[in-house]
Symmetry: C2
Subunit: 145 residues, 2 copies
């Protein structure tokens, strides 16, 4: 088990890739994105469709069409992507799968995981989609396997 579902991993990598590789006037096609992040092209297409419907990224059809991301979306937190795909289980669910995580009926791991989940949520909600562009350009960070 990883932290995120595979789908969510692809989604985050793709969104970061789009953020640093394209602009509204220089869109990027699914083929190039899939190659750029090492993911199955047709599956990624479905994922981006979903993110596009939810307004996290944008797309246009036809020649010179493709995916891009609006200026102001660059300031959105990564938590939006995670919630769109994996839901809020990582932030709010009980670590041991009890139907609800609460102080009234806490599981044995409640206290310690409360702080872990808070930390995960903080990291993801404080980290924006656009903030890695420079490091990605410089090759300090990677999105490829």
């Amino acid at each position: 088990m990883a932290i995120f579902s595979r789908t969510c991993e692809y989604a985050i990598r793709a969104v970061l890739y789009i953020a640093h590789q394209s602009t509204p006037s220089q869109k990027i096609g699914i083929k190039e994105i899939a190659a750029g992040i090492d993911s199955p092209e047709l599956y990624l297409a479905k994922i981006l469709q979903n993110l596009s419907k939810k307004g996290i990224i944008n797309s246009t059809k036809g020649p010179h069409g493709g995916f891009y991301i609006q200026e102001d979306s660059l300031r959105k937190p990564l938590s939006e992507i995670v919630e769109a795909i994996d839901g809020e289980g990582l932030f709010r669910g009980c670590a041991l799968g009890l139907s609800q995580c609460s102080e009234l009926n806490p599981c044995p791991l409640h206290d310690q995981f409360k702080s872990i989940r808070t930390q995960i949520h903080q990291v993801l909600s404080q980290t924006t989609i656009g903030e890695f562009n420079q490091e990605l350009v410089e090759g300090i960070l990677s999105l490829r396997k």
Copy 2:
């Protein structure tokens, strides 16, 4: 997505239940465990078989048989259960699914997730199977949905 797989959630709950409900001389049957933690009986049987093979819990067949846990296993950390079922992905894998998490080829989330994973690992390796027995007896903590 939750932190652990569903299988792993059942496993942890079951092991904690066995730890506080049985002794080597007072074993507990699969039916009672499954009822005690709200899990599908026959699926849980498979999971406990697996944990039994790996020495985390013990079992005996026949009348008055069932599952139990050795005195010294109570001091084992929960991380053993998690590693037995979900593997070490939660502790060592890359948050974005890159084939290896490393300082040489870090993904954008590397630094922040390194510390999150360390914290998860610490919690699970410092928390022992037996340490909740008293609170479970007193009903302060719960293993049921």
